[in-house]
Subunit: 769 residues, 2 copies
């Protein structure tokens, strides 16, 4: 059964009427508030924390420092990276001996009232002997870090590739190279981070609202920190106002808030303010790339070689080296690259730690590589599209396993004919009209340009568990380890069950990320929910349907294969009038007479889907920009994305993902940045200073979803779509700006702030030395 894809998202009604289940919606009579005291200094020795004055404030329930906390392990890395020992670089929940960035938690206050907590927090006296901050990863590389027990600033290197790179460069007809800096960004979700932790006096359990992304992993880490069994914690399903990778990783505040609830046996809420979000929620993206490519005279790439420095900030955060691995592993993008090497060095500094942010690594590596492709096109005298087409594998060359691994899994290009995708993309958007229009505009003296970026995306990783059940009322429930981060997971997973069980998606209740409902779960990241969780739901729903059919067949004295399950009923196709409601079948399926040995009573099935490799769909970004050359302001005037989605589960939501991604990507391409001053003090401390794109900054965004190549690795054929819109945005905008300004040199950094653009214009117009 095909579900009508255009119904509203299941989440929307509750969100629209103000009944979202945010952690701040939780009302509790015993609610207290937590406020973190943070370092105002980037780097130094922590000489002492005096809490006496704060503790004396009426309404304060407690002021705690590292000395009060258990001697637990620091915040661990969730994903190990073979060959790199993160241990010395991990963050303690509260600073003990050293502070390593402005915003680092050094103490916290719990009070009856949030304002009292904030006021009291200001009275905590933190004594620090300052050290010079380290702010440049490339310069820090090679040094050691006193405040991390003298370990090297370089945490490690992700080094990947294959083939004879040096040989290829020796024999190259043309070598093109550039350096690119990508800025420090942050995802800036609408809802600040936070959590509410209830203490259940009945069971002595801790109930956590506001966990997102990887609740099972977080639960286990927190339990280890508290020294209790995992199930002493109950992570509850919550709505969140956006994640984009930043929310739901385990932060110091998660440990502190749960610990406080356990210690004080009360409900504790912590919500960061926007300044705290900017200071102490994961930053992202800051890298410096040195990339070069070798070409034959015909413009065929023979080698690609990148070396990059990733500024990890003060500590290695929970994602470990995931960003570096994706930066390096996917650096080649969709191209046929006979010899390839990419090295990413992770180097600690005295800034906020960095984490994953929607399309981690690809926003950066697409920018570096695709800008290089445009530069190569100029050098080779080819059009940007032509140099790309010459280097894209065709349908005959795919599926193709690159001789390398990502996250330990083989990298199998399963997205079909990349050459064909780009050809179709160019035709679909009418690329020649774009270039013609830009050319006309420039001939009129306007700085208009167009740029494209051919990208390789990826989706689906690891495993996810689903339980699908039908209750005795006929109600369908889906429980999955994935989380809702605003992306519509509820809707898409309801569809996955509904289309199998022949019920409307609205009849399906979806329980996400509730650690009491499932024994184990993955989470939501890496565009994996539809691919991995959707498949697990699909498989479990198929088992439930088959069980319903089998049960009905016994009652109807029919063959199971003759039983059709639809609209909440089962009937034999030979006697369609005798319809058995699913609820009655659920009841029958729990009766001993209907149970096979080992079978669970009722209409229930569990499934785990484990993606053996990721799926790698192609896409193309197209941007048109106009530059105000007087003030260096770039305006994106047209944008289009093509993307091989495999199969669309819900058209509106898929388009929304791409459109939102482009908007967010344009922010990173043009406006957003998190600079630090020479003392390591962040210059951006309020929303006003972090310029995210507004509606008026954005053109209409064309989205063309191709369903030409269903993903072979999952029965739904889906490929994920969460990161498609953002991954190529920096690249396409940068190429369009270079075109608009008719630069011969590459642009040096993202975002293309007015200052950067003005400098590029000045360099272009400067007399050659």
């Amino acid at each position: 059964m095909t579900v009508d894809q255009e119904f509203s998202r299941l989440e929307d009604h509750r969100l629209a009427v103000g009944r979202g289940r945010f952690h701040e919606s939780v009302r509790r009579a015993d609610l207290a508030h937590l406020r973190v005291v943070r370092s105002a200094v980037a780097h130094g020795r922590l000489d002492g924390v005096d809490v006496a004055e704060a503790a004396a404030v009426p309404g304060v329930l407690g002021v705690f420092t590292a000395a009060d906390l258990p001697d637990g392990p620091p915040i661990p890395a969730r994903q190990p990276s073979p060959g790199i020992d993160f241990t010395p670089y991990l963050q303690p929940p509260l600073a003990r001996e050293w502070v390593r960035h402005v915003g680092e938690p050094v103490a916290f206050v719990v009070a009856e009232d949030a304002y009292v907590a904030e006021d009291a927090a200001r009275l905590v006296d933190v004594a620090i002997s300052e050290l010079p901050p380290v702010l440049d990863a490339r310069r820090a590389d090679g040094t050691t870090v006193e405040s991390l027990a003298g370990v090297p600033a370089r945490v490690g290197t992700i080094d990947t590739g294959y083939g004879d790179v040096a040989g290829a460069f020796d024999q190259a007809a043309t070598v093109v190279e550039l350096e690119l800096d990508t800025g420090r960004h942050s995802a800036m979700p609408l809802e600040n981070r936070g959590l509410t932790v209830g203490f259940d006096h009945d069971t002595e359990r801790l109930v956590v609202w506001g966990a997102a992304k990887v609740p099972f992993w977080n639960r286990n880490v927190i339990a280890r920190y508290l020294g209790v069994p995992d199930d002493r914690l109950h992570m509850r399903e919550s709505d969140v106002g956006g994640s984009f990778g930043i929310r739901g990783e385990l932060y110091a505040e998660d440990l502190l808030t749960v610990w406080a609830a356990s210690r004080l046996r009360r409900t504790i809420r912590w919500v960061e303010d926007r300044e705290e979000h900017l200071l102490a929620a994961n930053h992202a993206r800051q890298q410096h790339h040195r990339v070069r490519a070798a070409f034959t005279p015909e413009g065929r790439m023979t080698a690609l070689d990148d070396e990059a420095w990733l500024d990890t900030g003060a500590y290695i955060r929970t994602h470990g080296a995931v960003v570096a691995a994706l930066t390096a592993g996917m650096f080649a993008g969709p191209y046929r690259v006979p010899a390839f090497r990419s090295q990413v060095h992770l180097v600690v500094t005295n800034k906020m730690g960095v984490g994953t942010y929607r399309a981690p690594g690809r926003f950066q590596n697409n920018a570096a590589r695709e800008h290089l492709m445009d530069l190569a096109a100029s050098r080779l005298g080819l059009s940007p599209e032509e140099v790309r087409l010459r280097n894209l594998p065709t349908g005959e060359e795919t599926p193709d396993a690159r001789p390398m691994r990502i996250f330990g899994a083989p990298m199998l290009l399963d997205g079909g004919d990349h050459h064909g995708h780009v050809t179709k993309a160019l035709a679909t958007v009418g690329w020649d009209t774009w270039t013609a229009r830009a050319g006309r505009a420039r001939s009129e003296g306007r700085a208009v340009g167009v740029g494209m970026a051919a990208i390789l995306e990826k989706a689906g990783l690891g495993h996810e568990n689903a339980v699908v059940s039908v209750d005795t009322s006929g109600g369908v429930r889906v429980a999955v380890g994935s989380t809702s981060v605003g992306q519509g997971a509820e809707t898409v997973l309801a569809i996955a069950a509904a289309e199998v069980l022949g019920v409307p998606p609205q009849a399906v209740r979806v329980v996400l990320s509730d650690t009491d409902t499932l024994h184990d779960g993955g989470g939501t990241f890496a565009s994996r929910t539809t691919v991995v969780a959707g498949t697990a739901v699909h498989q479990a729903a198929e088992q439930v349907r088959d069980r319903a059919a089998r049960t009905a067949a016994r009652i109807l004295q029919a063959e199971p294969e003759d039983v059709v399950v639809r609209d909440g009923f089962a009937a034999s196709r030979h006697a369609p009038k005798r319809q058995l409601p699913l609820g009655a079948l659920a009841q029958a399926a729990a009766a001993p007479g209907f149970l096979r040995p080992g079978e669970e009573p009722g209409l229930i099935a569990r499934s785990t889907f484990s993606a053996p490799t990721m799926t790698y769909p192609p896409g193309v970004h197209f941007a048109e920009v106009e530059v105000d050359t007087d003030i260096g302001e770039v305006r994106v005037t047209r944008y289009a994305v093509t993307y091989e989605i495999g199969r669309t589960m819900h058209e509106g939501m898929a388009r929304g993902q791409v459109t939102g991604g482009v908007a967010q990507g344009i922010g990173g391409a043009l406006y957003e940045d998190l600079p630090y001053d020479a003392d390591g003090v962040p210059l951006v401390r309020s929303q006003r200073d972090y310029r995210v794109p507004l509606a008026r900054d954005l053109p209409d965004i064309e989205v063309h979803l191709f369903e030409d190549v269903p993903a072979p690795g999952n029965p739904l054929g889906v490929r994920g779509v969460g990161e498609a819109g953002i991954a190529g945005a920096g690249a396409a905008v940068m190429n369009a700006v270079r075109d608009a300004l008719q630069l011969t040199a590459p642009l040096p950094r993202l975002p293309l702030t007015q200052a950067t653009v003005l400098r590029a214009i000045r360099d272009r117009d400067a007399p050659a030395r």
Copy 2:
């Protein structure tokens, strides 16, 4: 691994320190209280309910009558009984047109304060046109009931048996007969019934604390009543202060309280007071038996024939005809009975409805049959033990399938050599010393007597589900559909997992009756928890252990069968020093590389155990009494029970079950009764008037648990022990009193109140007419 059986119950610490999880322990800021307005009239037409005055009381949140409630179905029967349609006899949650017993709910008040609710409830004006009450089931049999739409007062008859009964009586050498009334009793748990229902504003779900016995079934019925999917309700694990069958069946108040929480979107608590408990919690046991048996000259029973009337009270309650089915089906007890018939007529009256009460049917049928055996002994000139031994099947005759079914299942006597059990019992207690001592006392003029009762018990019925898991900290969790009713389920189920996994029971967390943790569950009744749930846990734990061993084997590069799991570690028996903690294995077992297709990630296993038939263990009760013939007071001076338990899981708990059962049985044998006056008004309305046995009323109770015949139907070999102590108490005490008074006639009724005993003495001493 054998677990030390003598540790304290896991429940005890929390109960001893006042941290029991009773529903009244639940604290909520939005708590409101519900009070039921009840009929003061036994039978009548409900003319009107005026709530205006009550609704105007400050602090009252609402006063509700049947008109406010959904047109939902009445309270259903949980167990159907083929051939009997209970529908016309079912109770609406609030009376609509008729009231049928004193205490029937007609309205309810919800108020901020429990006292305000109670005061306001008194202001509800209930207008009733009275009808004459029907108070005698035998006399009502054959009439119709106006207040139940004119249906017959006889709901139906359970009629069971086999063989040529009439022919056997025709040819009998001796026929013995008697009539026996058993009184109306109630289990009188320490904690009154009640529940607390929270409204979860985050999820719009209803959270129910205080559900016991059959939470899954109750959840589904309540959901149907509210018209919501099952999982809109979350039945939470709670401690309860005793059940004995009375608590946890679905009552009107359960529906009303949940409905009120849903309607008012608040936490609502309802707790009955003791008067309400006496008026409106299930009564039990009231039956009238006419029984006769045919004997050969050698004292061999050739036929047994019983006809009984069961006073169901005003409505058929949730257990349907379970008591009647057990009364009839198990009437023959352990004896070899060539021809057997037992009919139990269910007849409605205008008293409180009756339900199951610990050893339902057997307290009564053992009394009738065993008193008949003593009467037969007198007639046949045999000793009481001799007449029993002549009619008990030996080891050669068992296992024996009686040609009849109970609850649709064959009745297989699997308890071994009944003759042998009684022989061993007589020797173990030293029965000849009992009879000698009584004889000596009587020769000294004291009315001392001894009595025995050979019983057949049963345990284990239906199915139960268990989930056993090990978390990444190594913590073991067991989740089961059974409930804790104070019997130590937590401890015994922890043992069932612990002995398989080689951990101490204290390391196991047991989650009972939480409807969010399991998809489906049975419940706790019929001495089934150890047998059915214990087996499910045992099986699931075995799977977890095997999975742990398999996972460890891969890591250790050993054969799975060489891996030993003990003390929280797994190791190869060839290299015992390399120990892998269970927590680490739990983590490994969730890793995709370790998963087999279809396998759930982690160390987790689910098992359902479905008992194909019940297990039927033998037991013997022995009582010594002394009667104060001046005032008719009976004192039990010595008591012993032997019981074939199959296998003891926890010695102290098993003995406690038997001892407590005997105490409770002595209450029913001597003191407890719930009489009604001629208007159908209950005479017992406070604890003071319902004389339960006190410590000073009880002798030391000898308990002899035999482990001679492990139950063949389950891998633990257990037979259940919850009802063994009560089932034969009425019979043994009655026989002892008859012996003490040296009656030739049978005693006419239980309990043997002083009036009954005095009448028996008077009848004995009256000149024969």
